[in-house]
């Protein structure tokens, strides 16, 4: 599904309304009116059966935006203000990070192939002739599929010369690369969190917007109101999300209430260097290959579905972790808030004691809008310490291996390959590598096609975002010179900080 679609926009509008109320200290007072305000237009066209159903769905969306799981939610008349009070009072966020809205779920019919009236009942009848289960018969001159016999192989659709057979999929189930989504007894979709890798594909692809991530923006704003200091740790991909320079983004984050701002690309520089040392060591020991470890959806995939690949995954920590380490040392009294394009990072954030909260680009964008902050109109501000081009390139496919290569000693053979998007197909590639059929020695894995720039919680078209980010990375200090230095020096892989010079603006 297209990144910007009406389902995504409705979710963002809700965020903006919630944040506005929060900033005005009127959350409890105003939250129950949001579903009515959003459907108040006299020309309002209901999406579902009627405006009342739409409002009921908006209510459960607001609950997810308040950070609640809604699978068990039954509207018993409890006003949203009661939930808002509970959200404002809580100190901790709860797993899982995703939730399914039963009211929004369309309970799509099980994937099926259907013959449309474009069927000409031709003489060739390839649908009938090629069906391996003899599920196609001709009734009154038209092909008919017997659903009891059909195994959804799709051959009839492929062979029909009139394109008369269509596939009606279940988009969320189709998008899930690991088969973690299936129907319950009522036909509503359920996520099996023992299998889920939090890639966010279902959330992006559901045309009814029934899968939502549980927001943490209320928690962050409430902490600020309680007098806590906040450090923003923004992911490399975030720099491509607004049409503005890095310096302006830093100003915007400060204006939005963050007391300190860190570029996670700095942590990415550390990851790249450590991973290069680890890789060199592995190759010298005769290991066949190593994979990157910065994509949390991939790491979750290995943990839950490909345990045999675990020994090949780099032990190097993620850019988020290293940046949180820097922030924890420099500003120990600040809450550390990671901001990124990624859903799985919310899970990684819960598991990492150094990270307090994880916000999405959607949330930070909504915060800017609610506060009337236009990033491009902010004052240009220098970062205290700038990341290198390598770290800033982590957000697009291929960027991580390039950054790692820059730190590699020349004598180490380097044959990088990339999994550009975790899908059912690329899953098979991973499986074959784990079975020893690897075709390179460094495998970079990105769960999102195109890299983090195409993450499920972004706001900007990935193509536009990549162009913007490349421009920023190209203007950054390169790593070429330091790579040679790194090659000749004997820096152990466990150095606490990067040994590369830090660029100045």
């Amino acid at each position: 599904m297209h990144y910007n679609n009406n389902a995504a926009l409705v979710k963002r509008e809700l965020l903006i309304s919630l944040i506005k109320l929060m900033l005005e200290d009127r959350l409890e007072e105003g939250i129950d009116k949001i579903p009515y305000e959003m459907t108040r237009d006299p020309d309002y066209q209901p999406i579902r059966c009627c405006v009342h159903h739409d409002r009921e769905i908006l209510k459960s969306r607001l609950l997810a935006r308040l950070g609640f799981s809604v699978e068990q939610y039954v509207d018993d008349g409890t006003p949203l203000s009661v939930y808002a009070r509970e959200a404002l009072a809580r100190e901790r966020i709860s797993a899982p990070i995703l939730t399914v809205l039963d009211d929004a779920c369309n309970a799509c019919v099980k994937t099926q192939f259907m013959v449309t009236n474009a069927c000409q009942g031709c003489l060739a009848r390839p649908c009938m002739m090629n069906c391996p289960k003899k599920a196609v018969t001709i009734v009154d001159g038209h092909a008919v599929i017997d659903n009891a016999k059909c195994i959804n192989c799709g051959i009839c659709q492929q062979v029909c010369p009139y394109h008369a057979i269509i596939k009606i999929p279940v988009p969320c189930e189709e998008a899930c690369p690991v088969g973690a989504i299936s129907k319950d007894a009522n036909g509503k979709e359920r996520i099996d969190y023992e299998k889920c890798i939090f890639c966010g594909n279902c959330m992006r692809e559901c045309p009814f917007g029934a899968m939502m991530d549980k927001s943490q923006i209320i928690d962050v704003l409430a902490a600020k109101k309680r007098g806590k200091k906040l450090a923003a740790l923004f992911a490399p991909a975030v720099a491509g999300q607004f049409k503005a320079s890095l310096g302006k983004l830093v100003s915007a984050l400060e204006k939005a209430g963050f007391d300190a701002v860190y570029e996670v690309a700095r942590g990415a520089d550390i990851t790249a260097e450590k991973e290069a040392h680890e890789f060199a060591e592995q190759m010298e020991q005769g290991e066949p290959f190593m994979t990157t470890s910065c994509c949390p959806a991939y790491v979750e995939t290995v943990r839950k579905h490909l345990p045999e690949l675990k020994k090949r995954v780099s032990d190097t920590k993620t850019p988020m972790h290293y940046t949180a380490e820097i922030a924890a040392n420099e500003k120990p009294d600040h809450l550390r808030v990671f901001i990124g394009p990624c859903l799985a990072k919310r899970k990684e954030g819960i598991d990492d004691p150094l990270v307090d909260y994880v916000l999405s680009v959607e949330e930070i964008g909504a915060l800017f809008v609610a506060m009337g902050i236009d990033v491009a109109e902010m004052e240009e501000k220098n970062l205290d310490q700038e990341a290198l081009a390598g770290g800033r390139s982590f957000a697009w496919s291929g960027g991580v291996s390039t950054a790692v290569q820059a730190y590699l000693p020349k004598h180490i053979p380097f044959k990088p390959e990339t999994i550009d998007g975790l899908t059912k197909e690329s899953f098979r590639v991973l499986k074959s590598w784990s079975e020893g059929k690897n075709t390179g020695n460094l495998l970079e894995v990105m769960a999102c096609m195109g890299g983090c720039v195409a993450g499920p919680s972004t706001i900007t078209n990935p193509k536009v975002a990549t162009m913007q980010l490349r421009k920023i990375a190209e203007a950054s200090k390169g790593v070429e010179a330091t790579a040679e230095a790194s090659a000749s020096s004997k820096t152990p892989a466990s150095t606490p900080a990067p040994t590369v010079p830090v660029g100045v603006a």
Binding site: N4, F242, K243, V369, D374, E377, I459
Partner: protein, 87 residues
């Protein structure tokens, strides 16, 4: 057909971006060949319409000075066609 030049301005302010405005920056990829040379495309910093509730909703675009709220690529193309007298 007269050789009028139509000017298209796409707002890339933060409010427009959050509501999907970045898509509009790919407008150039959707311009039919017959219109090449007759359009002037421009991305602009915040045009300010998001601050005025009567203007409609973000994202905003302007085609020859005419405001398009909740702009989409097909909507902008339709408006360009209208301005060029080529629907």
């Amino acid at each position: 057909m007269s050789e009028t030049i139509v000017k298209v301005v796409v707002c890339s302010g933060t409010a427009c971006y959050v509501m999907g405005g970045s898509e509009l920056l790919l407008l150039d990829d959707h311009i039919p060949a017959k219109w090449k040379g007759r359009l002037e495309l421009e991305g602009s910093p915040c045009l300010g319409y998001c601050k005025d509730k009567t203007s409609g909703k973000a994202p905003f675009a302007m085609v020859d000075g005419e405001l398009i709220p909740q702009a989409t690529i097909p909507e902008i193309l339709r408006k360009i066609g209208e301005k060029l007298g080529d629907r």
